[in-house]
C-alpha cells in the first residue's frame, strides 16, 4: 500500500515543501555573505554578468561595486555609510537605489515581480493536474474486449500488439 501513487505524490510534495525551509541556518560570516550577495548582483559595466563573475579586463564597475559590497558587510562603515553591518535586504536595496533595479540578478518577490517566481510552479502544478485528469479520463473510457470466439485474424492482431507492447 505504501507504493500507491497517491502516497508517492504526497511524499514528493512534502519533500518539495521541506526544500523551501532549507538554507535558513545560523548567521553567516561576512565572507560567505559577500559571496552570496555578490552572486545576487549584476555588474553594471554592460557585460550582463554576475558581479563576482565579471572578468572584464580593467572593468571599473565591478571593482568599485565589490568594494562597496564589502564595505556594507563589514563594521567599518565605509562606502555605504553604515556603522554596523547591514542586513542582506538592506544591502541589496542600497544597490538598487544607486544602480537601478537591473542591478539585481533575479526579480524580487514583491509587486509584479513575484509573478516571475509563481508562474513556473503554477505551470508545473497545473500541468501535473491536467495530465492526471487526462490519464484518469482516458482510463475510464476504456472498453472491455471480448476474449471468446476470436477469429484467426483477430488473434494475429492481438499477437502483433503483444509483440509491440513487449519489444520496447
Amino acid at each position: 500500500m505504501l507504493w500507491r501513487p497517491k502516497y508517492i505524490l504526497e511524499a514528493l510534495a512534502i519533500t518539495l515543501v521541506c526544500v523551501g525551509f532549507l538554507g535558513a541556518g545560523p548567521s553567516r560570516s561576512a565572507n560567505t555573505r559577500f559571496n552570496d550577495l555578490g552572486h545576487k548582483l549584476m555588474c553594471k559595466c554592460g557585460c550582463n554578468q554576475i558581479l563576482l563573475e565579471c572578468n572584464h579586463v580593467g572593468c571599473n564597475y565591478s571593482t568599485q561595486m565589490r568594494d562597496e559590497l564589502l564595505a556594507a558587510l563589514t563594521r567599518d562603515g565605509s562606502g555605504l555609510g553604515s556603522s554596523t553591518p547591514d542586513s542582506d535586504d538592506l544591502v541589496l536595496q542600497s544597490f538598487v537605489q544607486k544602480y537601478g533595479a537591473t542591478v539585481l540578478a533575479a526579480p524580487t518577490t514583491s509587486g509584479f515581480n513575484i509573478v516571475a517566481w509563481i508562474v513556473p510552479f503554477v505551470a508545473l502544478v497545473a500541468g501535473l493536474g491536467l495530465v492526471t485528469v487526462i490519464v484518469r479520463k482516458w482510463k475510464f473510457r476504456l472498453q472491455p474486449v471480448g476474449a471468446q470466439d476470436l477469429t484467426p485474424s483477430q488473434l494475429d492482431e492481438f499477437r502483433r500488439r503483444a509483440r509491440e507492447d513487449t519489444e520496447l
Binding site: 526579480p107 513556473p120 495530465v131 482510463k139 513487449t166
Partner: protein, 678 residues
C-alpha cells in the same frame, strides 16, 4: 569576386522559388506532365545547394585572400588571422552566419531530395516546405543581410579581425554543430507538416521523422556542450552556463526535441499522442527560429552581442507565417490524427512518457518565461528587471530533480499497465542503494544538506542519480541474463548481443546514464570556491588542497596578439604536482583583450586560473583561482550522451542472427533460471 557570390545567392533564391511553385503544382495535379514538373522542382532544389555552396566558398576564399573590399571580410578578418579561423569567418558575423544557415539548409535539402525513393510523394511534399524555408533565408541573404556588400571609398590594408573570443579551436566546430542542430530541425518539421497536409496514411512518416530528429538532436546536443565548454575554457569566469538568452535559445528546442524523442515512442508503439507529437515538432522548429529572433533582434540583452541587428522583424513575420500555416492545416486535417488506443493505467510506460513530456515542457516554458520576463516587466511596469542565473537555478533545479526521478522509474514500467508489486520489486533495491549512498555521503561529511539549499539539491541529485544508475544497470543485467541462459554466452558478451538486438532501447539507457553523469557534474557547482590575489615572484595563494605559487611572469608577442602570462607552480599537500600558465592577450587588429584561463582537470575537480590583470603600481599579476568540483563529469557525460544517441541510430540486428542453444538445453537450464522482469 563578390559579384559571383551575389549572383549565386540571387540564382539560389530564384531556384528556391521555382522548387516551391513547381513542387506545389507537381503534387496538386495528376498526370505525366505533373510528374515531370515535380522532378524539375526536385532538381532545382538540389541546384540551390550548389548555388549557396558557391556563395559560401567565395566568402571563405575572400577571407583567405584578405579581400577587404568586401565589408564582411573587413569587419571579421585580418591578415594575421590563422587559417582555421579564416574558415570561422563564415559564421562569425550576422550576414555570414545567415549564409551558413542557408548552406546547411541546402545541404539537408540535398540529402532529402537525393533520398527521395524512401517515399517519393512524402519527400515531394517535404521538399516544398524546405524550399519555402530556403526562400526565407535566401531572401534574407539577398535583401537584408547580404554578405557581399562592398566597402565604399579607400579600402583599408588590414581588417578589424575576428572577435577574440571566437579565436579558439572549439569555435571552429561549435557553431557548425549548433547550426546543424537548429537548421536540421527543419527536416522533421517538413516531414511532419507534409504528413499532415497530405493526410499521410500509416506511420512511416513518424519513423523517418524520428530518425531525422535524433540526428539533428545529436548535433544540437553536441553544439550546446561544445558551447558550454567554450564558455568555460575561454570566457574566464569559471563557469560553463550563464543562462544568457543565447544559451537559453539553444536549450529550448533541445528540451522540446527531447520530449518528442520520448513521446514519439507512444505513437510508434500504441498509435497515441499523434496531435501532441505533431505540435512538439512544430514547437521545436518554431523555437529554433524564435531563438534566432531573440538573439539577433536585440529584444533581450545578451553577452553575445556581436550578432544583433534589425532583422528581427523578418524573423517575427516568418514565425507568424509558420504558425498560421501549421494552425491552418491542423484545423483542416486534425481528424487524421486521432489516437488509435487509449491509456489504460496511470501506472504505465505511457503515463510516464506523459509526465516526462510535461516536465520537459515546463522546463522549456520556464526558460522561455525567464528569458522574456524582462520584456514583460518593462511593458507592465516600465522597468526592465534582470532575470539571471539565480532565478533559473532556483526554478529549474526542482524540475530537473523531478525529471531524474522519472528517468529512474519510467523504464521500469511496462506498456499498458504495470502492477504496483512489479514496481516495488524492481525499485526496492535501487531505492535502498540510493538511500544508503545519501546516508554514507552525509556520514562522511562530504555534504551537509541542512547548511545550504544548494547542498541539499546536490545530495538529492546524487541520490537520484544512484537510483537511475541502478535501474539502468539492472535493465542491462536482467536482459543479458536471459540471453546468457538462451545462448550460453558470458554476461558481457550477452550485454553486447542485448544491445545490438535493440539498439534504440539500450542506446536510450546509455543516454539516461550519461544524463546522470552530467547532472552529478552540475551538482558539483554547489561546492565551487574562488579566490583572487596579487602574486609577485615567489608569492603564494591557497585554495582547497592546492597552493599556487607564482614562479615568474612574462610577455610574448606575435603578429595577431601580444600577451602577458604567468608561470604558476601548483602544489598539493606540500608536493609540487604541476605548472600552469594563465594568460591575457590583447588582439592587435581589434585592440580587444581576452583571457586564456589555465585549467588543470581531474575527475574530482578542476583548478582554474585566470590572469585578470596587473597591479598598475608594481606590475605584479593578479590571479583569480577557481576550484570547481566534478566539472570533468559534464564533458564525460556529454560524450556518453552522444555515444548513446549514435548507438540508438544504428539499426538493430535480427534476433535470428544470434546463435541459440538447443531447445532441450534451454529447457533444462530454465528450471534454474529466474524471471527476467517485466
Amino acid at each position: 569576386m563578390s559579384d559571383l557570390g551575389s549572383y549565386s545567392l540571387l540564382l539560389g533564391l530564384a531556384l528556391s522559388v521555382y522548387a516551391f511553385v513547381a513542387g506545389i503544382i507537381g503534387v496538386a495535379r495528376k498526370g505525366h506532365s505533373a510528374e515531370i514538373l515535380g522532378e524539375t522542382a526536385r532538381r532545382a532544389g538540389i541546384a540551390v545547394f550548389g548555388c549557396v555552396l558557391i556563395a559560401a566558398t567565395v566568402l571563405v576564399v575572400a577571407a583567405f585572400r584578405n579581400d577587404f573590399s568586401i565589408a564582411y571580410i573587413l569587419h571579421h578578418s585580418n591578415v594575421a588571422l590563422s587559417a582555421p579561423y579564416k574558415f570561422a569567418v563564415l559564421w562569425s558575423g550576422q550576414e555570414g552566419s545567415l549564409l551558413f544557415w542557408s548552406l546547411l539548409l541546402g545541404g539537408y535539402g540535398l540529402v532529402l531530395r537525393l533520398r527521395y525513393k524512401v517515399d517519393a510523394k512524402l519527400v515531394a511534399y517535404a521538399s516544398i516546405i524546405i524550399a519555402a524555408v530556403q526562400i526565407f533565408f535566401l531572401a534574407l541573404n539577398n535583401f537584408a543581410a547580404n554578405p557581399f556588400g562592398i566597402v565604399t571609398g579607400t579600402i583599408p590594408p588590414d581588417g578589424n579581425g575576428l572577435n577574440p573570443l571566437l579565436q579558439y579551436a572549439e569555435m571552429v566546430i561549435h557553431p557548425p554543430m549548433l547550426y546543424l542542430g537548429y537548421v536540421g530541425m527543419t527536416v522533421p518539421f517538413a516531414f511532419a507538416l507534409a504528413a499532415l497536409i497530405m493526410k499521410y496514411p500509416g506511420e512511416k512518416w513518424i519513423h523517418i521523422t524520428r530518425r531525422w530528429t535524433m540526428v539533428t538532436w545529436a548535433f544540437l546536443t553536441c553544439g550546446i556542450f561544445l558551447g558550454a565548454h567554450w564558455a568555460y575554457a575561454v570566457l574566464g569566469w569559471g563557469g560553463y552556463w550563464g543562462w544568457d538568452p543565447v544559451e537559453n535559445a539553444s536549450l529550448m528546442p533541445w528540451l522540446t526535441g527531447t520530449a518528442f524523442l520520448h513521446s514519439v515512442m507512444m505513437q510508434e508503439k500504441r498509435g497515441m499522442l499523434k496531435v501532441w507529437n505533431m505540435w512538439l515538432i512544430f514547437a521545436t522548429f518554431g523555437l529554433s527560429i524564435f531563438g534566432t529572433l531573440l538573439t539577433r533582434s536585440g529584444i533581450v540583452s545578451s553577452v553575445h552581442a556581436f550578432a544583433q541587428s534589425s532583422i528581427g522583424t523578418w524573423f517575427a513575420v516568418f514565425l507568424a507565417i509558420v504558425l498560421a500555416v501549421c494552425v491552418f492545416f491542423f484545423v483542416m486535417n486534425r481528424g487524421h490524427l486521432r489516437s488509435e488506443n487509449r491509456l489504460e493505467s496511470l501506472v504505465s510506460r505511457e503515463s510516464s512518457f506523459l509526465f516526462n513530456n510535461l516536465i520537459l515542457l515546463v522546463a522549456c516554458f520556464t526558460v522561455l518565461w525567464g528569458t522574456l520576463f524582462p520584456v514583460l516587466s518593462e511593458w507592465v511596469e516600465g522597468t526592465k528587471v534582470t532575470v539571471g542565473a539565480p532565478f533559473f537555478n532556483k526554478v529549474n533545479i526542482p524540475v530537473a530533480l523531478l525529471l531524474l526521478l522519472l528517468t529512474a522509474v519510467g523504464p521500469l514500467l511496462s506498456w499498458r499497465k504495470t502492477s504496483i508489486d512489479s514496481i516495488r520489486r524492481n525499485l526496492l533495491n535501487p531505492s535502498l542503494l540510493a538511500l544508503g549512498a545519501g546516508i554514507a555521503i552525509i556520514a562522511l561529511g562530504w555534504i551537509h544538506p541542512w547548511r545550504e539549499q544548494s547542498e541539499f539539491y546536490a545530495l538529492m541529485t546524487i541520490m537520484l542519480s544512484v537510483l537511475v544508475a541502478c535501474t539502468v544497470i539492472s535493465e542491462f543485467y536482467r536482459g543479458a541474463r536471459v540471453i546468457a541462459y538462451q545462448t550460453g554466452r558470458n554476461i558481457l558478451s550477452s550485454v553486447y548481443v542485448l544491445t545490438r538486438r535493440n539498439t534504440r532501447r539500450y542506446g536510450g539507457y546509455i543516454a539516461h546514464f550519461a544524463a546522470i553523469v552530467v547532472m552529478i557534474g552540475f551538482a558539483g557547482s554547489a561546492f565551487n570556491q574562488d579566490i583572487e590575489r596579487e602574486v609577485g615572484n615567489g608569492e603564494s595563494m591557497s585554495i582547497g588542497h592546492y597552493t599556487i605559487t607564482c614562479k615568474s611572469y612574462t610577455q610574448d608577442d606575435n603578429a595577431n596578439y601580444s600577451s602577458v602570462w604567468a608561470i604558476m607552480d601548483i602544489s598539493r599537500d606540500g608536493k609540487k604536482i604541476d605548472t600552469m600558465f594563465p594568460e591575457r592577450r590583447i588582439y592587435k587588429a581589434s585592440q580587444q583583450p581576452a583571457t586564456m584561463p589555465a585549467i588543470r582537470s581531474t575527475i574530482q575537480e578542476d583548478l582554474y586560473l585566470v590572469y585578470t590583470g596587473n597591479n598598475p603600481d608594481n606590475g605584479h599579476p593578479i590571479i583569480r583561482a577557481h576550484l570547481n568540483p566534478l566539472v570533468s563529469w559534464i564533458w564525460t557525460g556529454s560524450g556518453l550522451l552522444l555515444l548513446g544517441t549514435l548507438l540508438a541510430l544504428i539499426p538493430s540486428i535480427a534476433t535470428s542472427r544470434v546463435p541459440v542453444r538447443s531447445a532441450a538445453k534451454v529447457l533444462a537450464d530454465s528450471r534454474q533460471a529466474v524471471g527476467a522482469g517485466d
